[in-house]
C-alpha cells in the first residue's frame, strides 16, 4: 500500500485549471476537470512537451502549450499521431482535500 500526502484543497484549483506541485522528482501538474476529477502527471516530457499545467484542458485531456500535443490525463499517453507518455501519479480526493501518492517524494522519502 502506498501512502498519500495532502497537497491542498480541490477548491485551490479552478475547474479546467491546473497547478504545479514541486517534488524532489520534478514538477508535477495537478489538474481539476470540469467534472471535478483530479489528475496528476509530470509537468514535462523532456525534449518533447510541457509545461503541461499551462495547457488548455478539455474533457480529460490537456493540450501542450508548446507543440499542441494532446495528452490523456488518465493514462499520460500522447493522443493521435504523436508518441510519448508522461508519468501519471496516483491521486485521491478525501473530504475536499487532494491527496497524492507519496511516491512523488522519491528516494528522499523512502530513505526516511
Amino acid at each position: 500500500m502506498s501512502q498519500f500526502i495532502d497537497i491542498g484543497a480541490v477548491e485551490d484549483i479552478p475547474q479546467r485549471g491546473a497547478r504545479l506541485v514541486k517534488s524532489p522528482l520534478g514538477e508535477i501538474a495537478v489538474f481539476r476537470t470540469a467534472k471535478d476529477e483530479i489528475f496528476a502527471v509530470d509537468e514535462w516530457l523532456p525534449g518533447k512537451a510541457g509545461p503541461l499545467s499551462n495547457g488548455i484542458q478539455h474533457d480529460t485531456r490537456v493540450t501542450d502549450p508548446m507543440r499542441n500535443w494532446v495528452f490523456d490525463l488518465a493514462t499520460g499517453e500522447a493522443q493521435g499521431a504523436d508518441e510519448g507518455r508522461v508519468r501519471v501519479w496516483e491521486t485521491r480526493v478525501e473530504e475536499g482535500r487532494i491527496l497524492i501518492t507519496q511516491q512523488i517524494m522519491g528516494e528522499l522519502r523512502a530513505a526516511e
Binding site: 501512502q3 498519500f4 500526502i5 495532502d6 497537497i7 491542498g8 485551490d12 484549483i13 479552478p14 475547474q15 479546467r16 485549471g17 497547478r19 504545479l20 506541485v21 514541486k22 517534488s23 524532489p24 495537478v30 470540469a34 514535462w44 510541457g50 509545461p51 499551462n54 495547457g55 488548455i56 484542458q57 478539455h58 474533457d59 493540450t63 502549450p65 508548446m66 499542441n68 494532446v70 491527496l99 507519496q102 512523488i104 517524494m105 522519502r109
Partner: protein
C-alpha cells in the same frame, strides 16, 4: 407542322411530358386543362409545406412565366366536359370546342373515401392537394384531428399536424404501420417514434361511423365503441385512378386507363400517363415510374421509339424524421432466410431477406446510408454467398474496402440509381458531370438528379467529388474543429442571433459533439463572445492560450517574457530606470529591444511575474500585450517634431491611436505603424494597419504582413485630419474584429471579403463607419483595464502563479 396537343391535368407526370417536349425542341401547340386553379407543383413536397418547412411557392415546379415562355395555353380551374374522339375535339365546361392532333390524359387519381356514415360531413377531407393541406394548416394547439390510414400519406399528415401542436390520433386497420413497405419490427420502431412525438396510434382498429354535429365532423366512432373526438378527419387510405372521363369517351379502362409500352391508350391519338394509367395490370403511385412514363410519352409524341418498362421499386422514405428504406419482397416464406441487425439504443433495425443466396428484399429503419448498394444487390440478383457473414454491415465491410463514403460511391455500379424520384443512374450523373456540370445545381439542371425531393444531394456531391477529383471543391466547409460541423462564420452568426453568452450555452445550443470542446474551438468561441458581448460575457481564461491567460509570453524553458507598453515607442529615464531595476532584482538574463519599439525582459520565472509587474506598475507602466491576439504596438518615426522631412506629427498620432486601441482583443494580433513621410521609416507598408503622412493628410493602408507571408498593404483611402485618421483606423479594426475568422490576420480576411467591400463599409458609408467606431469605443471601456495591475495589485488568478505545494524545500509527514 405544329402538332396541336391537349393535356388534361397539370400534375407531375404530365408536367414532365411537357418538359420532355420543350427540352427536345418539339414543334407543339399545347393547351393545358387543370381542375385545380393552378399549374404544376411538386405534390411530394406537400408534407414539408404542412410541416411548415417549406411554402407553396417553394414547391411550384412550373410557374406562370414557365408556361408563358413556352406559349402553353393554360386553362386552370377548368374541367373538360366531353371528348369526341372521332372528331378529335375536346369540349370545355364553358362550351369551348377545341380540336387536337394528340390528346394526353394526366388525370391522376382520386383519394379513396371510405363510405362510412358521415363521410360527407364538413371537416372530413383527404390528403391530396393544396386545399387539403391548407385545411390541416388551419389547425393548431387545442385542436384535435384523426387520421384514418397508417400508410405513408396518413403518417405524413399526422406528423405535420402534430408538429403544429395538434392532438393527433392515427387509426389504422392493419396490425402495424405501413405494412406494404415495412415488416412488423420496423413498423414497431416507427410507431414508437410517432408516439414519442405525441401522436396516438391505434392499429387493428376498424372505423364504424363518423359522428357529426350541425353538419360538421365531431368524432370518429370505432367498432369497439371508442369515440375519438376531432375537429378534422383526414382519410388517407389509398387512391383510385381517375378514369371517369376516359370511360365516358369509350377508351379501354380497367383499374386504370389501359396503355401499351408507348403509353398509347386504345386510341392511337390518345396517350395517358401517371396515376390514372394501368400498364400490364399494374397501377402506379410512386413518382419514379411516372417520370419514366412521361418521358416515354414525350418521345412517342415526337415520333421517337421508346418503351416503358416497369422496374423493381425501392422506397426511401422520411416520415417524421425517421429514415426508412424498403425494397423487394420481404414476406416470410419457405426457403427464405433473414439476416437481422438491431441496435435498440440507436433505434436501428436492418433486415435482409435471402433466397438462394440472393437478396430478394430489404427493410431498413434508422440507418439507410447503404440502401443504394443493397438495392443494387436485389436488382442485379448478385450472389452473396461469399460475403454473407458481413453482408448486413454494408459495402464498407466487403472485400476490405475502406470505411469511406467516397469509396462506397465510387464502387456503385454504373446503373445504380442515384435519384429515385427521377430515375437517374450513376452513369447519367457522371455523364452530366463530365459534360461540364461541375456544381450540384448544374447537375440538377442537366440530369434532374436531386431536383424533386432532394434526398440524394449528398450522393450527387460525392459523385462530383469522385468524378472531378481535386477540381471539385466540396461546398463542404471548413469546420471550426472536430467538435462541430459548423464553420467559423456559422458559429459566429448563431452566437449573435441566439444571443449565446456562455461556452456551455454555445456547446449545448449548437450541438457540440464533445463535452467541453477542445484547444481549437474554445479559444475561438471565447473570442467570438468577447467581441459580440462586451461587458456581458465573462471572459474564460481557461479557454485562452497560456500567453493570454497569464499575460506574458511563454519561452521554451517555461519562463516568461515581460514587455511593458511604450506608447508610440516613446519612453523616458524614469521608465528605463524602473526596467533596469526590475531586470536586476529578478535576475532577468536577457534584455532586448523589440521590433515594435519597446523593451523585452526575457527569462522571468512564472512565480515572479506578479511582483515584476508590480514594480513596473509603480513606475507608471502597464502591460504591452505583446502576447495578445489583440492590439500590439503602434510603431512611429519621429515625425515633424524633429525630422526635416516630416510632414505631420507621426509620433503624436501613433500615441493617440495606441491610447484608443490598447487592450482590445481581436481574431489575431494587430500591429500598426505611423510614418511621418513617404520615406516610411516606421515601415507602415507591411503592417495590419499603416499610416503614411503626406503634406495633404494621411494615407491609410491596410492588410500588410511581414511574417510567414510577406505582403504589402493596400491603400484604403486618404483623409485630411488626425481625427479622421483615428476614426477610420478604429472603424477598420472593429470591422476586422467583428468579421474575421479567429486566427486570421487582416490580410487573410481582406482576401476573403475583398478590399472593395471593406472600402464600401468604411470609406463610402460614413454612417456605418461612425457606427463601427462607436461600437469599438463602447467595447474598449470594458477592456482597457491593465491586466498586470489586476494581478499584481488585486491578486486576480493568483493560482496561476503559485505552486499548489512545494516539497523541494520542506519535509512533510506522510499520512
Amino acid at each position: 407542322m405544329t402538332q396541336k396537343i391537349i393535356v388534361i391535368g397539370a400534375g407531375m407526370a404530365s408536367g414532365r411530358v411537357l418538359e420532355t417536349l420543350y427540352e427536345n425542341g418539339a414543334d407543339v401547340d399545347v393547351t393545358l386543362f387543370n381542375a385545380e386553379p393552378r399549374g404544376n407543383y411538386n405534390r411530394i413536397m406537400l408534407s414539408p409545406v404542412l410541416a411548415g418547412d417549406q411554402t407553396y411557392q417553394d414547391i411550384v415546379t412550373h410557374d406562370d412565366a414557365w408556361y408563358a415562355e413556352r406559349n402553353v395555353t393554360c386553362r386552370f380551374g377548368e374541367k373538360v366536359a366531353t371528348i369526341d374522339r372521332a372528331a378529335k375535339t375536346v369540349t370545355a365546361e364553358n362550351g369551348d370546342v377545341l380540336s387536337y392532333d394528340k390528346l394526353v390524359f394526366g388525370t391522376g387519381s382520386n383519394p379513396f373515401m371510405i363510405p362510412l356514415p358521415g363521410h360527407d360531413l364538413e371537416g372530413v377531407i383527404a390528403y391530396r392537394d393544396l386545399e387539403d393541406t391548407e385545411k390541416m394548416m388551419g389547425l393548431g394547439e387545442g385542436n384535435k384531428a384523426v387520421v384514418i390510414g397508417g400508410g405513408l400519406l396518413g403518417l405524413e399528415a399526422a406528423a405535420g399536424m402534430a408538429a403544429r401542436g395538434v392532438d393527433v390520433t392515427v387509426v389504422h386497420i392493419m396490425g402495424h404501420l405501413m405494412e406494404r413497405q415495412l415488416d412488423e419490427a420496423a413498423g414497431y420502431l416507427l410507431r414508437k417514434a410517432l408516439v414519442d412525438k405525441g401522436i396516438t396510434v391505434k392499429c387493428s382498429a376498424n372505423s364504424k361511423e363518423i359522428v357529426g354535429e350541425n353538419g360538421k365532423v365531431k368524432a370518429l366512432m370505432l367498432d369497439d365503441g371508442t369515440e375519438l373526438p376531432c375537429d378534422l378527419l383526414v382519410m388517407a387510405v389509398g387512391i383510385r385512378p381517375n378514369v371517369a372521363l376516359a370511360k365516358e369517351c369509350g377508351l379501354a379502362v380497367g383499374k386504370g386507363i389501359h396503355v401499351d409500352d408507348q403509353m398509347l391508350t386504345s386510341d392511337e391519338n390518345v396517350l395517358a400517363v401517371g396515376e390514372c394509367v394501368e400498364h400490364n395490370g399494374a397501377i402506379f403511385g410512386l413518382v419514379a415510374p411516372l417520370y419514366d412514363q412521361a418521358k416515354v410519352a414525350g418521345q412517342t409524341l415526337m415520333g421517337e421509339e421508346a418503351a416503358f418498362v416497369q422496374k423493381e421499386l425501392s422506397t426511401k422514405l422520411k416520415v417524421t424524421g425517421c429514415d426508412l428504406f424498403s425494397a423487394g419482397d420481404f414476406a416470410e416464406g419457405e426457403g427464405r432466410e433473414d439476416i437481422v441487425f438491431r441496435d435498440p439504443a440507436r433505434g436501428v433495425y436492418k433486415r435482409l431477406v435471402i433466397e438462394e443466396n440472393k437478396v430478394v428484399g430489404a427493410v431498413f429503419y434508422g440507418d439507410t446510408a447503404d440502401s443504394n448498394w443493397f438495392f443494387g444487390l436485389i436488382k442485379d440478383k448478385t450472389d452473396i454467398a461469399d460475403m454473407r457473414e458481413t453482408l448486413i454491415f454494408g459495402p464498407a465491410f466487403q472485400g476490405g474496402e475502406p470505411l469511406d463514403p467516397m469509396a462506397a460511391v465510387a464502387a456503385l455500379a454504373d446503373d445504380a440509381e442515384i435519384c429515385g424520384c427521377n430515375g437517374v443512374s450513376k452513369a447519367q450523373v457522371v455523364a452530366a458531370i463530365q459534360g461540364g456540370a461541375n456544381t450540384l445545381d448544374a447537375v440538377k439542371a442537366v440530369s434532374k438528379a436531386g431536383s424533386s425531393c432532394g434526398s440524394c444531394s449528398g450522393l450527387v456531391e460525392q459523385l462530383l467529388s469522385v468524378t472531378l477529383g481535386d477540381e471539385f471543391v466540396m461546398p463542404e466547409k471548413e469546420t471550426v474543429c472536430k467538435c462541430t460541423d459548423m464553420t467559423h462564420d456559422e458559429v459566429r452568426k448563431l452566437i449573435v442571433m441566439k444571443e449565446l453568452k456562455s461556452l456551455p450555452g454555445v456547446m449545448q445550443e449548437l450541438n457540440w459533439s464533445t463535452p467541453d470542446g477542445c484547444h481549437v474551438c474554445r479559444p475561438a468561441l471565447n473570442y467570438y463572445m468577447v467581441c459580440a458581448w462586451p461587458g456581458e460575457y465573462a471572459d474564460d481564461g481557461k479557454s485562452r492560450f497560456i500567453n493570454e491567460r497569464v499575460h506574458a509570453n511563454i519561452q521554451k524553458d517555461g519562463t516568461y517574457s515581460v514587455v511593458p507598453r511604450m506608447l508610440g515607442g516613446i519612453t523616458n529615464p524614469k521608465e528605463l530606470r524602473a526596467i533596469a531595476d526590475a531586470a536586476d532584482k529578478y535576475n532577468v538574463p536577457t534584455v532586448k529591444v523589440t521590433g515594435g519599439q519597446r523593451i523585452d525582459l526575457l527569462g522571468v520565472k512564472k512565480e515572479d511575474l506578479p511582483a515584476i509587474w508590480y514594480d513596473l506598475g509603480q513606475a507608471g507602466m502597464m502591460s504591452g500585450q505583446a502576447y495578445a491576439k489583440g492590439l500590439r504596438t503602434v510603431k512611429t518615426c519621429v515625425g515633424s517634431d524633429h525630422c526635416r522631412f516630416g510632414t505631420q506629427d507621426s509620433t503624436g498620432l501613433g500615441i493617440q491611436i495606441e491610447k484608443a486601441m490598447w487592450g482590445a482583443w481581436s481574431p489575431h494580433k494587430f500591429k500598426l505603424a505611423v510614418s511621418g513621410c513617404p520615406r516610411n521609416c516606421a515601415e507602415s507598408t507591411c503592417k495590419d494597419l499603416g499610416i503614411i503622412c503626406v503634406d495633404s493628410g494621411y494615407q491609410i493602408l491596410v492588410g500588410g504582413a511581414a511574417g510567414l507571408d510577406l505582403r504589402e498593404t493596400d491603400l484604403l483611402c486618404q483623409v485630411a485630419t488626425e481625427e479622421e485618421a483615428l476614426e477610420y483606423s478604429c472603424a477598420f479594426y472593429q470591422l476586422y474584429r467583428e468579421g474575421a475568422q479567429y486566427l486570421h490576420r487582416p490580410y487573410k480576411w481582406i482576401k476573403k471579403v475583398g478590399l472593395d467591400w471593406v472600402k464600401e463599409q468604411i470609406v463610402e458609408d460614413a454612417e456605418n463607419r461612425k457606427a463601427l467606431a462607436e461600437r469599438f469605443h463602447y467595447s474598449q471601456q470594458f477592456f482597457q483595464v491593465d491586466p498586470w495591475a489586476e494581478r499584481a495589485v488585486k491578486g486576480v488568478d493568483k493560482h496561476e502563479f503559485e505552486p499548489l505545494a512545494d516539497f523541494t524545500k520542506t519535509q512533510v509527514a506522510a499520512e
